[in-house]
């Protein structure tokens, strides 16, 4: 007997097709959108030479700009010397770096170094920490902390506290600006295409408080510190720099600066001369300064020192000459490190090895003899020249 065709439920075959289609359709995604292809951009591919240039931006405001900024790099940097009641003189470097990268927590690194010319000792320590929810801006100045080390300041009245883990040295200083802030390069310092920064200094700060040596706190009776505050969206350059601060006995100051490329070639120079304080100096009012042109001064190393620890060679002792121009007198100065070994291996906190030391400065200024004190910083000597 042949079965009747209509009895065959057609839904079976339809169903089997539906099953197969449903199963085979799983997981398919078919969006045909695309990102635009960048066109050839020769101009963007041409990197300009690393030369200084004007930095767009607003002028530095006090005390607003003393506070931390939401930028890639910022530092608060004290160098100089203090004299204790027992007549001893110590070179001091105390700096806090603030690093902000992408949306990471803010990183802080601090270096604290002391030079004791009497014992020819050099000691340093470093610290680092991370901070979240940092409040940028405000008119309360800066209030920085890296673990137990602190640095507070507003309108040139600052407080510094740091203790080396070894217990060898500690500072508990109040430093007061006696001259007023100096806007380096007008307050805007350029690294060329590598970035730009804002930069001011307090070139003559008087310390008070105590210097603890081997656990013994010594009152500070005299001294001069130099303070730099620099910030911007820049990174440390690929080469390095030689930085000289000079505090003349006639109440004037000078800063000179060489930036080198990886081959050691000087690619940028910067100089600023700060005449003695005029009558109406104020810690919140920038003092007048004179920019030195690149061909107005020269820095000539007179010797070299090789670190027994790292094997890195640094220039040691320099002759600096400055040509007279306008308000800037002619100068011929010799910088001699108080001790040659002032190398800091801070790879744990900032990944760099550098030399930074107290120098005695002698020579002539405006034709007459002059003495001065100052600090020199040398970076980038740990890398082979290319």
């Amino acid at each position: 007997m042949r079965p009747r065709l209509f009895q065959f439920p057609a839904c079976f075959s339809v169903f089997s097709v539906v099953v197969i289609v449903a199963l085979s359709g799983c997981g398919s995604a078919g969006v045909a959108e695309s990102f635009p292809t960048p066109g050839p951009n020769i101009a963007a591919a041409t990197v300009p030479a690393s030369t200084p240039g004007p930095v767009p931006g607003t002028v530095i405001r006090f005390p607003l700009d003393e506070a931390p900024h939401p930028v890639i790099t910022e530092w608060w940097y004290y160098t100089g010397h203090v004299q204790t009641a027992d007549g001893a003189r110590y070179g001091v470097e105390y700096v806090i770096f603030q690093g902000s990268r992408a949306d990471f927590p803010i990183g802080y690194a601090a270096h604290f170094a002391v030079i004791d010319p009497h014992t020819r000792a050099f000691a340093y320590d470093e610290a680092s920490s991370l901070a979240r929810n940092v409040a940028f801006g405000g008119s309360d100045g800066f209030d920085l902390r890296v673990n137990d080390w602190t640095m507070r300041g507003r309108s040139g009245a600052d407080h510094l506290h740091a203790v080396m883990k070894s217990g060898a040295y500690a500072i508990d200083l109040t430093v007061t600006d006696t001259k007023g802030p100096v806007l380096q390069g007008g307050g805007q310092f350029s690294y060329g295409p590598g970035g730009s920064s804002y930069y001011y200094s307090r070139t003559r700060m008087r310390p008070s408080g105590t210097m603890t040596v081997g656990g013994v706190a010594k009152p500070i009776v005299d001294g001069t510190l130099w303070f730099d505050h620099q910030w911007g969206n820049f990174l440390a350059t690929n080469g390095g720099w030689d930085w000289f601060s000079t505090q003349f006995d006639d109440n004037s100051e000078m800063m000179i600066y060489h930036l080198r490329d990886p081959s050691g070639k000087i690619v940028q120079t910067f100089g600023e001369y700060i005449p003695p304080c005029p009558r109406d100096c104020s810690p919140t009012k920038p003092v007048p300064s004179v920019a030195l042109s690149a061909d107005q001064f020269s820095i000539t190393p007179l010797g070299a020192w090789t670190s027994p620890t790292t094997g890195i060679s640094y220039p040691s002792a320099w002759r600096v000459t400055v040509l007279a121009q306008g308000d800037v007198p002619a100068m011929d100065l010799t910088y001699t490190p108080v001790i040659p070994n002032a190398e800091l291996d801070t790879r744990r906190s900032t990944s760099v090895i550098y030399w930074e030391g107290d120098c005695t400065i002698t020579g002539t200024k405006g034709g007459g003899p002059i003495t001065a004190s100052g600090y020199v910083e040398l970076t980038g000597y740990d890398k082979p020249r290319r």
Partner: protein, 772 residues
């Protein structure tokens, strides 16, 4: 042929027994070592774009795909990961890693603050190994021993290698537990079915012997080729299920033949000619389903396919050679050690006629109202399957592990205390034009523009690349910094550049605002793949989203072909068996319905998270893409098993009487006890896998249990009689020209063997009693 084979088996029973003892003697030492050569991974296809890109990343950028994640958590709210003591303690904790016999690099949270939790109390350290994840997993015990937990912090070890090591450990534990649960349950079920300890013992003996041989063969194959560790789980499940099923079917038939008064040699031959033949055909259909897995390129599927093929061949061989031999020796003593009183008590009176049992009465009831039963039942099964429509696929991660396992705890910590998308970025591997490097100014300019376009997409949270290290840096700055990359002083950018670019290769890592499984992230991958960078640069996309997309697309591009293969070959086998063009199609559709219902359950339970507390798991929110395929291929075979047993009994009755409705009812009734028992055993064995700690194994167990249960109840009791009643004589239709090509007695029925069989006389006697 099968009758003659049965005679032969009886004649050479001692030789066959000796062969089996020899085989078992060889297999026994290797079976317990089965997991030794097996691998844990194998979820991806090395030919996929995402796999190739991942290989490029590992080769050209040293991008480690096998990283151990160590988390440290502080209970003290004031003891934060930024605290120098915290950093010192974690560094000291990992100091012992330098003594591990593998090259390790550690990225600490001190170097990458993104490895600090939102509340600051938890940090994770990334220990990268140069070996692949599989090899790294073997090092986990050594690594764990080298990590010294700090006194103030809770230490947990996770990441890919730890996950793999945990999978191996937990799956072995699962397997042992499942066997401990499944075997006694199966024995009790068999006792209840057979009512005699000896009769029940035979399937256990045969099933057990089969599993030993299966595991030994898998061990041997594992030493020759890469096989997944999950092969063992499936092989055990399927091996026990099929072994017991087949033995049950044959033993039952043997007792029937003895009851009909045949001597032992004749009963053995008749058993093989009927049930034995059905088992071979049934095995063939299961084999076809599993062979389809061999068409895929994913090692896991191929492994399970190979394992499954081994299971079917050994199970069929054991059922058709070892069991008949044992039956020959046992003979009429098969009912020895009777527990019949208990069984009778449980089963009630079994002395009823074949068309008067519960199953026959239900079948008659259904066949009186076929449409009224068919439509709601079909709708119900389809309704059960509807959750499958919103299935979401993803690759297995530590969420398949129980919360007590450390790799799962680390996974949870990373997902809850850190940005989950951070750990599953979309990775774009860029190759620059020949002769150029990623740091060339022109390439940086092009990359910068391309990355800028990506960043502008609203679905993108962040892009990490050598030209987007920090949004405050300009292209020119990057060009200056990278001009002398070796002299870069900044540790952050230096590390970034080292990780993200080398020579002609650079990586763009895209963090989506949406989970890696989301449609948005998948659309992003598709958009990237539709794009070009320019300046001679080319790229490939990998990462979790691309990986899953590729695997799913690859799988489900191949699946219809595999599906078609299964359906067509099964159809042909059943066509030969039943000499009908309609019955095979009906059988396939019935099977598909059970599977669809179990698919729906799979999504409803494991993806959506229902019954999580009952089954001891947390919602996966995804289904592992290979699972539906494994389930389809396994279930299609298993369900077809019962369909073949059932239809062979119906056809037996139909061949004898030519009455469709009566045959359906009688066939269902005659096969009822065996199919119910067999299905019950498979459901119980599969359910024992629900106790597994690995959610994938749990899902497989539950999926199989549900599908078989639905098949043995709803489909068999309601849908089959309703459909066969609706189809009427179309059930048995085949064109005359086709019949010429089909063997006349493919299914050697009891009626064919016994010309004056009980079937015909019973029908003649009761023709007027059954439905028209």
């Amino acid at each position: 042929m099968f009758y003659a084979f049965g005679r032969l088996i009886y004649r050479f029973r001692w030789l066959v027994l000796a062969c089996w003892i020899a085989v078992l003697g060889i297999a026994l030492p290797f079976a317990p070592r089965v997991t030794e050569p097996l691998r844990v991974g194998g979820f991806a296809d090395p030919a996929l774009e995402s796999s190739k890109a991942a290989a490029t990343l590992a080769r050209d950028l040293g991008y480690s795909t096998s990283s151990v994640i160590v988390t440290y958590s502080s209970d003290d709210p004031s003891f934060l990961a930024t605290d120098p003591r915290f950093i010192a303690e974690t560094e000291a904790s990992l100091a012992g890693l330098r003594n591990v016999h593998a090259q390790t690099t550690v990225l600490t949270h001190a170097a990458n603050p993104r490895q600090i939790s939102r509340d600051g109390r938890t940090a994770f350290e990334v220990v990268s190994l140069t070996t692949d994840t599989e090899a790294a997993a073997k090092l986990i015990p050594e690594i764990t021993a080298a990590i010294r937990p700090p006194p103030d912090l809770r230490t947990r070890i996770g990441g890919g290698p730890a996950f793999y090591a945990d999978v191996e450990k937990v799956s072995q534990r699962d397997l042992a537990r499942a066997e401990e649960v499944a075997f006694p349950i199966a024995v009790v079920a068999l006792l209840l079915v057979f009512g005699s300890a000896l009769a029940a013992g035979l399937p256990v003996l045969v099933g057990g012997a089969g599993v030993v041989v299966i595991l030994a063969v898998i061990y041997a194959l594992g030493t020759l080729m890469e096989l997944s560790i999950f092969t063992v789980n499936l092989a055990t499940l399927l091996g026990l299920g099929l072994g017991l099923d087949y033995s049950l079917f044959l033993s039952s038939r043997f007792r029937e033949e003895l009851a009909h008064g045949f001597a032992v040699p004749e009963a053995v031959a008749r058993t093989l000619a009927t049930a034995g033949q059905a088992v071979v055909y049934s095995g063939l259909t299961v084999l076809i389903g599993l062979c389809a897995l061999l068409t895929f390129h994913i090692n896991l599927l191929v492994s399970i396919g190979i394992g499954g093929v081994v299971v079917v061949i050994v199970s069929v061989l054991a059922a058709t050679t070892l069991l008949p031999v044992l039956l020959s020796f046992v003979g009429t003593r098969i009912d020895a050690l009777s527990v019949r009183r208990l069984v009778t008590l449980l089963r009630g009176n079994t002395a009823q006629r074949e068309d008067e049992g519960l199953w026959a009465r239900v079948a008659h009831l259904v066949m009186r109202h076929p449409i009224a039963i068919f439509l709601p039942t079909l709708s119900l099964l389809l309704l059960l399957g509807t959750p499958f429509l919103h299935i979401t696929f993803s690759s297995p991660d530590a969420s398949i592990m129980p919360p007590s396992v450390q790799s799962r705890q680390v996974y949870d910590i990373l997902n809850t205390e850190f940005n989950a998308s951070e750990t599953t970025p979309i990775l774009v591997v860029v190759k620059t034009a020949p002769g150029t490097t990623a740091f060339d100014a022109a390439n940086l300019a092009t990359l910068s523009a391309f990355v800028g376009n990506i960043q502008a997409d609203p679905r993108v949270a962040r892009v990490e690349s050598i030209v987007s290290v920090d949004p405050r840096l300009t292209l020119t700055q990057y060009q200056v910094y990278y001009r002398a990359i070796a002299d870069l002083q900044d540790p952050y950018i230096t590390q970034f550049a080292r990780q993200y670019a080398r020579d002609d290769t650079t990586l763009i890592s895209i963090i989506s605002k949406f989970p890696s499984n989301s449609a948005e992230s998948r659309a992003l991958v598709a958009k990237l793949r539709n794009s070009t960078i320019g300046n001679g640069m080319i790229f490939q996309v990998t990462g979790a989203t691309a990986g899953v997309t590729d695997v799913v697309n690859g799988l489900y591009r191949s699946f219809p072909i595999a599906l078609l293969f299964i359906v067509l070959t099964t159809y042909v086998v059943l066509l030969f068996l039943f000499r009908s063009v309609v019955l095979p199609l009906k059988a396939i559709i019935m099977n598909a319905l059970s599977i669809i219902a179990s698919y729906g359950m799979l999504v409803f339970v494991f993806q959506d998270g229902h019954f999580g507390r009952l089954l001891h798991f947390t919602a996966l929110h995804f289904i592992e893409p290979t699972l539906p395929i494994i389930m389809f291929c396994t279930l299609f075979g298993l369900s077809m098993d019962y369909e073949v047993f059932l239809l062979s009994r119906i056809k037996e009755a139909y061949d004898a009487t030519g009455d469709n409705a009566w045959s359906v009812a009688t066939g269902i009734e005659r096969s009822a006890r065996i199919i119910t028992s067999a299905a019950l055993i498979v459901v119980l064995v599969a359910s024992s896998f629900v106790s597994a700690d690995i959610v994938l194994v749990k899902a497989l167990g539950l999926g199989v249990a549900v599908a078989v249960a639905v098949d043995a109840t709803v489909v068999r009791a309601l849908l089959v009689p309703a459909t066969m009643r609706l189809l009427g004589h179309w059930n048995w239709y085949a064109p005359r020209w086709l019949l010429r090509f089909l063997p006349r007695h493919a299914l050697a029925t009891g009626g064919a063997l016994d010309r004056e069989g009980a079937t015909e006389s019973l029908y003649e006697r009761d023709r007027d009693l059954v439905s028209p």
